[in-house]
């Protein structure tokens, strides 16, 4: 088993095929989308592949150390200069192929007109602990 992070971006990913913002959908289309996401996570829990999923607020702040006895420096948000993560799902699957397959399904969530959004998702493998047997 290997863990993968499926990353969804507010900004920074290539534009999806069905690129209409959610506030322009009908309420029924929003419901259908929510149901799809919910069912997807529920199905992965049943197959034993779901680990975690969280959504992030779009607002964020950059912070860094500014030396002894000084408060940290904060800056940003840097609009339009950086990709912006919207949320993630962590899955634990048998292969990279399976991770890609699931990301593909997630990307097919319905949007405006009930058609798949074709949203670009980023699939990132976790760096795991070293195996016990190495030779």
């Amino acid at each position: 088993m290997a863990k993968y992070l499926l990353l969804k971006h507010y900004r920074g990913a290539p534009a999806p095929v069905n690129n209409i913002p959610m506030d322009q959908w009908t309420p029924e289309e929003i419901s259908a989308h929510m149901q799809y996401m919910h069912d997807f996570a529920a199905r992965l829990e049943k197959t034993g592949e779901f680990v975690d999923g969280q959504a992030l607020a779009p607002e964020g702040t950059w912070v860094r150390y500014d030396g002894e006895g000084r408060p940290p420096v904060t800056d940003g948000p840097f609009a339009e200069t950086k990709d912006l993560i919207a949320g993630w799902m962590v899955i634990d699957v048998d292969s990279h192929e399976r991770a890609v397959e699931l990301a593909g399904e997630l990307s097919a969530a319905p949007g405006a007109g009930g058609k798949p959004i074709h949203e670009w998702l980023e699939v990132r493998p976790f760096l795991a602990a070293p195996p016990t047997i190495t030779e």
């Binding site: 959610m22 309420p27 419901s31 607020a57």
Partner: protein, 401 residues
């Protein structure tokens, strides 16, 4: 706990926690060690009771917890070669449990604790939840919650001792009078937590507030209990089958829990009659006026605005002023609501959502839709974000038709 213990047994078990803990502390155990011992006894009860239920549940818990405490103390003493706490085992005797329970609430909500620590310690030491249950309820690893609780116990170790009584035998006694307001804030936090897991935090907060109301006669304790009951009564109607939020005006009032409402209103009336108004009673009064309206249209908004005026006077909170603007919008029309909103800081949480709603009521759907999108962008939870996005979508769909 586990499926093996019936709900009735678990409720009984948990309700006995504070008095069992109180007995151990009165026998001379320090709070932290006694609390660990009681937790061990609770876990043991869950294991043993289903097959072998005790005749005297409380006596059983006291015996097992005391034995655990002595075992731990002996192990400790053997390790440290130090026996400064006990001369002999004191005899068990009849006890004023109510007073101990109250002191326990004060200790667990002690002002030296952070809110998160006070919440965790209250749920464990007063509520009798296991560390694992509390961890699951707050979506953190069990080890993290265990650390949070033991740090909290270290923080409060010794705060219950007045200097004159700081002799070894008195260590950990709950002697210092506490602050009811601090306890109420902790219980309010537990109730208001949005997470939902196997443990029903809102239900647990009601149980703990009810228990507190039984041991202290205080109008604000009654006010908080009434507030919780009145909000809890609407729970089934608050979400649609797909999990989306249903706003108050659109809720199916037939699904409100009338028993809970009647109880909340009764408790509130008795509290208000004592003429010592506080913020929880005022909030409960607003909830009661909503609960009293057979339909959303029949809501007595004029009276609600008056209660908000009281709340502003009591708290001077900008969040209260924001909610007051909504009530003014209903009582005197959306323009009046927008005027009330104009004097408030636009960076307040939910300011955009309130503005969007008032503009929608005023018929300006374009502005309302734009503001709903802004509000969704700033929402602090998913259900609210989805709800606000839906409001925007509904207005946009109507406009494009």
């Amino acid at each position: 706990m586990t499926a093996q213990v019936s709900p009735l047994n678990e409720a009984l078990l948990r309700s006995l926690t504070p008095s069992v803990l109180g007995i151990l502390v009165r026998r001379g155990a320090d709070f932290a060690a006694a609390e660990d011992a009681v937790q061990d006894a609770l876990v043991e009860a869950v294991r043993v009771w289903p097959a072998d239920p005790p005749r005297d549940a409380k006596g059983w818990l006291v015996t097992v917890a005391w034995r655990r405490f002595l075992d731990a103390r002996r192990a400790d003493a053997a390790r440290r070669r130090r026996e400064d706490l006990f001369d002999e085992e004191p005899a068990p005797g009849p006890v004023p449990a109510a007073d101990d329970t109250l002191q326990l609430y004060f200790l667990c909500a002690h002002p030296s604790l952070t809110p998160a620590s006070a919440v965790a310690l209250t749920l464990r030491a007063v509520g009798g939840l296991t560390t694992r249950q509390i961890a699951e309820a707050y979506l953190v690893p069990e080890a993290t919650m265990a650390q949070r609780i033991s740090r909290a116990k270290r923080t409060v170790a010794g705060v219950g001792v007045s200097p004159a009584r700081a002799k070894p035998r008195a260590r950990g006694r709950f002697d210092r009078p506490g602050d009811v307001a601090t306890v109420l804030r902790v219980l309010y936090l537990v109730f208001n937590e949005g997470y939902s897991g196997d443990v029903d935090l809102a239900g647990e907060a009601i149980r703990l507030t009810r228990q507190l109301a039984a041991v202290i006669d205080h109008p604000e304790v009654a006010g908080l209990l009434a507030l919780m009951l009145l909000h809890h009564a609407r729970r089934a109607a608050r979400t649609a089958p797909d999990g989306s939020l249903v706003p108050l005006a659109e809720q199916d009032r037939g699904r409100w829990d009338t028993e809970s409402i009647a109880e909340g209103i009764g408790i509130l009336r008795a509290a208000l009659a004592r003429d010592r108004l506080g913020e929880f009673q005022a909030q409960a009064a607003i909830a009661a006026l909503h609960a009293d309206a057979p339909t959303a249209e029949e809501t007595d908004w004029v009276q609600i605005v008056e209660w908000y005026d009281e709340l502003v006077r009591l708290t001077d909170s900008p969040v209260v002023r924001l909610n007051r603007a909504v009530a003014v919008g209903e009582a005197d029309g959306p323009r009046a609501g927008l005027a009330a909103l104009a004097s408030l800081d636009a960076s307040l949480p939910r300011h955009d959502a309130v503005a969007a709603y008032l503009h929608e009521r005023d018929g300006d759907t374009a502005t309302a839709a734009r503001l709903y999108v802004e509000a969704a962008h700033k929402a602090s939870n998913l259900a609210e974000r989805d709800h606000l996005t839906r409001r925007a979508a509904r207005l946009n769909a109507r406009r494009s038709r």
